[in-house]
Structures are given as C-alpha cells and as structure tokens.
Amino acid sequence: MTTTDATTAAATTESVPTSQTLAADTRRNSHPLLRVRDLSVRFEPKMSPALTAVDKVSFDLLEGEFVGLIGESGSGKSTLAMALLSLLERPGRISNGSIEFDGEDIASMSQEDLRHRRWRDIATVFQSSMNSLNPVMRVEAQFRDAIEEHSELRGDAVTERVRELFSMVMIDEKFMSAYPHELSGGMKQRINLALALCNRPRFVLLDEPTTGLDVVVQRSILEAVRRLQKEQGFAVLFISHDIGTVMELSDRIFVMYAGQLVEQQAATTLVKDPLHPYSKGLLGSYSNPRADTVRVTYIPGRPPDLTRPISGCRFAARCPEAIERCSSDEPQLLPLAGGRVACHVAHLQRGPSEDKPDGLPEQTTRFAGPEFVKTAEDSDRARRGEVFLEVDSVTKVFERRRGLRKQQTLAVDDVSFALRKGEVTALVGQSGSGKTTLARMITGVDKPSSGTIRFTGSEGTIAVEKLRTRQLRDYRKHVQMVFQDPYSSLNPALTLRYTLTRPLRNHRGLSAQEADAVAGELMETVALTPSNRFLDRYPHELSGGQRQRVVIARALAANPELIVADEPISSLDVSIRAEVLELLQELVTGHDIGVLYITHDLLSARLLADEILVLSQGRVVEQGNALEVIRNPQDAYTRTLLDAIPNPFEQATTTS
C-alpha cells in the first residue's frame, strides 16, 4: 500500500474520530463490537512469582474498525490477545473484568458454551501460525474442514469458496492442492489469513502475523489485510512491535506499557501529537532516512518487574518528563484531546494553567530522552581511509544432496568490494540475499567456492580463504563478529565475566588478573556501569539491549580492526535500537575500527553507514555513498526496499 492509499483508508473509515466531538458521537451511536472493562490477567506459575500481565484494561472496538496495539515486548499484548480469544492457558487466567462481544459476556462463558455460540465470528492469525498448517494435509482439505464445520456449504461450493479466498490473498489456485511444506513462509501466512477469513468473521485478531518474514513480503501481506478489511468490513486488532507499520495501517492505536493501556488515540493524531511520553519514545525510533538530518530517540532502561508491587506511574523510571507526583500517584486513563491518556504531565500541560505545578516540563511532541543524530555532513564526511579488506569476485555455491540428485544454490554470485579503515559499510538486502553467507566468508567461518578475500592488517596481508583452523584463530584477533540475536549468542550457563575474559586471555595473552581488570574496562566502554555489578551476572539477568552491549564488548576484547555486525539490532525492540547503533558509531569514531554492518533496514543503514552495498539474489546491485544511494536509488530493487520502510510521519505530513 502506498502512503496515499493508507491516508484515504484512514480518512474514509467512519470510525476515525478526527475531533473530540466526533469521537464522542461515534461512541454513543454505534454500540461497540467488543467491549472490554477492567480486564486483568494473572499468571500464577508454581515455580516462580505470580504476576499481573494485563492490568485493568478497558477499551471499545467498533464494528469495522482497524485498531493497532503497540508496546515493547513483554508489555502484555499477546496475553491480552489470548484473553480476548479465551485461549489463555494455565498458569494464566482472567482474574478480573469482563469481555463483551456483541453484547454477550464471553469472559465467563465456558469453553463448551463458546463453541455453541457465534465464536466463529472471531478469527486470528499469529506469528507461530506459520507452522500450524497440518503438514500431511493438502491445503484445500484444511479449508474444507474449516468451512464445512461452520457453514452450510458443501461439495463444489466449498471449492468455489476456497478459490475465491485464494484470489483474495493473491495466491495462485494451483497451490490449493499443495502441501504446506511446498509453500514459502509468506505464502503460508497468506493462506492462514485466508483460512481465518473463510467464515466471514466480524473480528480478526492479528498478533505479529508477519514477524520473521521478509520486509517486502511483510508489506504485501499487510496490504492484503488492509484491503480485505476495507472490502469486507471486519474489525481488526493488529498487534505488532513494528510500530511504523501499525501506525500506517490502523485507524486507531492503543499503546500498552507494563500491562496497562497508557494511550488510546486516532493514528493520525498520535503521529502528529503523541500525548504519553512512552508513545513519544516509541515513535521517536522512526525517522525519514532521506532527510538531511536524521534523528532517532531511544528509551533508556527496561520495563518494570511485574512481579513486584509498583507505586506511581509504571513508566516513571524511564520517563524524561516525570514530575514528583509521578512516583507516588498512579495516573488513570482519562479522556484528553480526542483520545485517552494515562499521564499526569500530559493532562496538566493541557489543563487550566492555574493547576500547573512549578517545574512542569514544556509541552513537546518528541521524546525528551537520549537521541542519535546523523546529519548530511556526517554522511558526506565519508572518510577515505585505506582499504584493508578486499573481496574479489567471490562466489559461493551450496550443494545439497537430495536423494540421488545434487541440488545447487548460488548464494553469493561474483561479489567484489572493499572495506576501509574507520569506515562503516552497510550490506543491505532481503533475507536470503546472501548477506550472512558473505559475512561468514569474510570472517573465515565458511570458504568461498571461488574468488579471493584479502585482509591487510597489523601483521601483513592474509589470504582469508586459505586459512586453516589454527591460523583462523589468529585471524580472529583482527576480525570479530557481533551476532544478530543476543539471546542466543551469549551462553546462558556462563557469567559475563567468563564470557569477556576468555577472548582477552586467548587473543591478548593476558593473565587471569589482567583480563579481569580489562573486562571491567570493556563493560565501562559499552556503558554497563558499575562494571563489577554486571560481571558476575548471567545473560538472562540483562535486557536485550544490555545483552547486545555485552556481545559488542566481547567483540572489542580482541582489539579487532574489523567488526562484522550481522543484523545486530533486528531482534531488539525498536525502542532501544538506536541505543545500540549509537554505541557502534562511537566505536568507529573512537577506536578507528572498520565495521561491516549487515541489515535489511535502510533507515539504520543511513544512521550508521558511510557506504551502502545493496545485495539482491547474491549479487551487488547498487553501491555508493550512503545518503546518495538512499536519495537517488538507481536500482529497482533498492527502491522496493526503500518503499518497504514504514513511515508514519510522511503520512502525517501528506494528510495535514
């Protein structure tokens, strides 16, 4: 969907309250499809402390409305979704409140009753749906089961309906007789979507339906959702941590933090004038990569521990606008400016001036916290350091045996480029475009099928493709890696001290005592202070952002000349991504390290990189100065990638 489409969509849907009065009217006149009041969900596991994952949540969802639910992971979005669907499993249960669907209370209904009621009116697709199609049944048969169970259609009529559903999600009819394993992840999610729609539901709940799929594929699926929703008029609750996309698609947005809704607002209003500091923080992680100066903010810290009692505002510890009252009084979700917001400061700022206490912060639409800025000059600065890594006509072919036949995949096809000292080169491309394969060859994990990789470091020139196990260990003094997923790249069974001292002892030959001291310094470098409080912890005691810092500290331990960072922020919440980017940036300027930054996200490439290489199907399709490539993409594929970047702000500017 282009931005203009999204705008019209938002403008034509009746239920968008564009002003306070209209909002009030809509609410009074049409009775809500889903009415949730004071809903709380508690998890009471036997082995760990109980927590309230959803806390007194109230909202209405109108017929035909498209509502987005955003918030960092762990904020309770999925738990709320499961509660709405009556699919909570032990040890979770609804501990308070009501859920009315079309006037009937479904929270207290038994599973048996639910089955007999009109629950087929509600359908859902979530991330793990990808693997939920029955692997031994043809796709059509699975549709047939679902349709025959809930409707009068039989025989050819069903086939006709399936055909119709397939065309709705734009999948060729010939795949009706396919087995799930013959379909790609994107196709499976489309089919799940079609399956969800097969009985014309009135409410569809989508929980991260496209997470884990390719950006371009995500885009096309979500466009299909929005188009079908307009055509068929079902209501949608769309959960995603990809805030940009949610903002673009939704009529209204709910913002969730630590189990509570902190803001409810029309999408167009939220983009222009977010009220809650947390909403501002989430939105601050987006920016237009084409702009001269790109600014992204991040929210420091992490959400509160829900197993402990919290007094005052739950966001207070991370909030740059907090005032005294915030730490003692819990803010309520009260109407303000056409929406609702739970924040003392937002209400005071817009309230009568005589109520305003001293020291009330200025009204702002941006998150007043830490920020990462990249200007056009920064990008032009592109320092022409000397070349220290040359990749020359590198090709990698993977061979897989399938029975008697050998299957060949060309993962990287005749790629050449050079990396320079103290410079960041971004390698951009869809998943499967060969980025990781290239990274593995540069770091010596894999060998190229043909071509050469030359590294010129402090110890002369090394032919990387010829290294053997023992020499490889030495090579890694110079070349280190930051992994995509900090949850899997730190050993859960070892303390951070162990993790950090090992490379120091191996690569720098330090004694145990020296290594200990340097490990402390490394922790300080990545701003995990005081270091001795962190060193004896285990990875699971840290947040995602902190873990990624440790991973970066470990990469720095060897004093490398090149760091290969493979999607280092893609598994992190958007609210903390800029924090990690900023750290990487500091390394480049402060330590004169070259960075090969691998990503599928052009915004982060703009923020970090001096040069961009665009990779598609194993080939370099475009290469050049970062700002240049983003502003004047020459290749069609680069343009597709650029279009896939959600940009809620652009939409806001076109509307106004």
Binding site: P45, K46, M47, S48, S73, S78, A81, M82, L85, L87, E89, Q111, L114, H116, R117, W119, R120, I122, A123, T124, Q127, S128, S129, S132, L133, A146, H150, N192, L195, C198, P201, D207, E208, T211, G212, H241, T443, V445, R476, K477, Q480, M481, F483, D485, Y487, S488, S489, L490, N491, P492, A493, R502, P503, N506, H507, H540, G544, A558, S571, D573
Partner: protein
C-alpha cells in the same frame, strides 16, 4: 479448532520475535532444577527410595544384626527374631547379607555409571562436535563397533581372563563395555547444539575445541548428561548383579547377585526357600525402579513439554 474459533494458530503461546526466549528458561536450569525434580511425584518417590538405600548402605553395620560375611550359623534356619529372613545353606544370615549387599550395588552403580558416562561424553561429544571430519569418522566407527559387539560375552571374557577378581575389576569392565549407546546419543545431541551462535562466538573468542565442548556446550546439556548417568548407573547395577549371578563376582564380598548365585547353585527354588531367592531379587528390582523414577524427573528438566506445570 476446539472452541469453534477459526483459529489458525498452533498450540504455542504466540510471542514476539524477542520475548519467547525471555528471562525464564535459563533461570530454570540454574536455580530451580531441584524444585522441578521434586515437584514430580515419580521422581520424588525415586529420590526418597534412593536416599533410603544410601542410608542403609552407609549405616549397614548399625542396621544389620551380623557381619554380612559371617557364615557360622546353623544352615537353613527358618525366619525368626534372630534371623529375620532365615539363614542360607552355608549358614549366613540372609537379612545381614541383604543389607551389606546394598553397598556393592550402590558403589558399582556410582563408579560404573561414572566411568561409562565419562567415556561416552568424551567420545560422543568429541565426535559430534567434529561431525563430518576424520576424527568423527574414526570415533563413530569405534562407537559402532562397540555397539554391535555383544556386551555380556565380552564382559565374561574380560573377567574370565583377568587375574584378580573384585569390585574395581567389575566397575572397569562395566565401564568400558557399556558406554557406546550413550556415546551415540551424546553425539546426536551435540550436533544440534554445536551450531548455536554462542558456540561460534566462542570460536571467535579464540577458544579451543576441548573448552568449547566441555565449558560452553556441556552446561546446556546438564540434564541430558544427568539422565545418561542415571541410566548408566542403572545398567551397571544390573550388570553387576548379572555377572555375580553367573559366578563372576567378587568372591570376598556379598552382593545381591552373589546371593542369587548361591541360592541358585544350592537349589533354593527346588527346596522352597523363598526368602533366600526372592529377597535379593525384589530389593534389586526396587533399587532399579527408584533410579528409573528419578530418570522420569530428569527427563522433565530437559524436556519442558513434559512439565506438569505449563
């Protein structure tokens, strides 16, 4: 589709890309494994039984009325207050033999299990970690040979040809003949773990293979290793009883196997001396059952899907 909802999701709780692997998992294995074990009824029964056996073995001199090796009573005395289970045809007190016999079984279980597990770990882990290399080919070949060689005849031959008989010999023989199956299991387990990011990261940190296998990977397999050890102990206890029953045990000490051997060679069944035959057999079965129960619990640790809780 049980609730009549058009629900196209799996049984799993949906989650973000990031939150599934969240805080909990690692915490489980570090702090709460014993709680988990204890929460399982079977495992709890197993642990209590095993503790009872260990107490009996430790305090055997206090519990048993006589020395286990003493055989100067009248032969074949009936059950009485002096001889709770009567005496054997050589004039030994069956109850005392039973009590002292637990020492041999537990010792063999412990050390046989340790030796076998250690060999299995070194060979299996190393070969799995080096999968596809010559090292793996060689180690896998040795493992496969060890698997196909019939174990019992091999044990018998080894013991028959050795000069000294005794518990250490039995432990040694059991250890070197029973590791292969576990080695193969460890090999396939490590193959699934060795491509984890943290293993690659350890290579980047300059770690050698030995350290990677035993410091980085093995801690993630603790429950699997523990299950292997309990299994190997169970096997060793059974093997000792079997060997002793065949008359290949330590002639100078009393074990349940040698009791059975004597009972059998004296024709106890024919004479209807049930206490003599049944007592050691039942008690052996009880010990093996307790270990099997413990292994149910250990399985829970490595396989969260089996937990009663979630």
């Amino acid at each position: 589709m049980t609730a009549g909802i058009v629900q196209t999701g799996s049984e799993e709780r949906p989650g973000d890309a990031t939150d599934e692997r969240g805080e909990g998992d690692a915490g489980y294995s570090q702090q709460r494994w014993w709680q988990l074990l204890w929460s399982n009824t079977k495992a709890r029964v197993g642990i209590i039984l095993l503790l009872a056996f260990i107490l009996i073995a430790t305090f055997a001199p206090l519990i048993a009325p006589y020395e286990g090796t003493r055989s100067d009573f009248d032969a074949l005395l009936p059950v009485s207050g002096d001889h709770l289970l009567g005496t054997t045809s050589q004039g030994a007190d069956i109850f005392s033999q039973l009590v002292y016999g637990s020492r041999v079984s537990l010792l063999v279980g412990l050390f046989g299990g340790l030796v076998s597990t250690a060999i299995a770990l070194v060979i299996g882990m190393w070969s799995g970690y080096k999968e596809g290399t010559v090292i793996d080919d060689i180690l896998s070949f040795i493992t496969n040979v060890a698997i196909v060689v019939p174990v019992l005849p091999l044990m018998i031959v080894l013991i028959a040809y050795s000069e000294v008989r005794g518990i250490p010999l039995i432990v040694f023989v059991i250890g070197i003949t029973s590791w292969a199956g576990h080695a193969r299991a460890k090999r396939s387990q490590i193959i699934t773990l060795r491509n984890r990011d943290f293993v690659t990261a350890a290579k980047f940190a300059g770690e050698g293979s030995g350290r990677i296998i035993f410091r980085e990977i093995m801690p993630s397999m603790t429950s699997l290793v523990a299950a292997g050890f309990v299994g190997a102990s169970t096997g060793a206890i059974g093997a000792e009883a079997g060997l002793s029953f065949l008359g290949l045990g330590d002639p100078n000490s009393i074990s349940w196997g040698t009791m059975l051997y004597q009972a059998d060679s004296q024709g106890a069944v024919g004479q209807g001396l049930w206490a003599w035959v049944l007592a050691p057999g039942l008690i052996l079965a009880l010990l093996i059952t307790s270990l099997t129960f413990i292994n149910f619990g250990v399985d829970l640790l490595s396989n969260p899907h089996l937990r009663e809780d979630s």
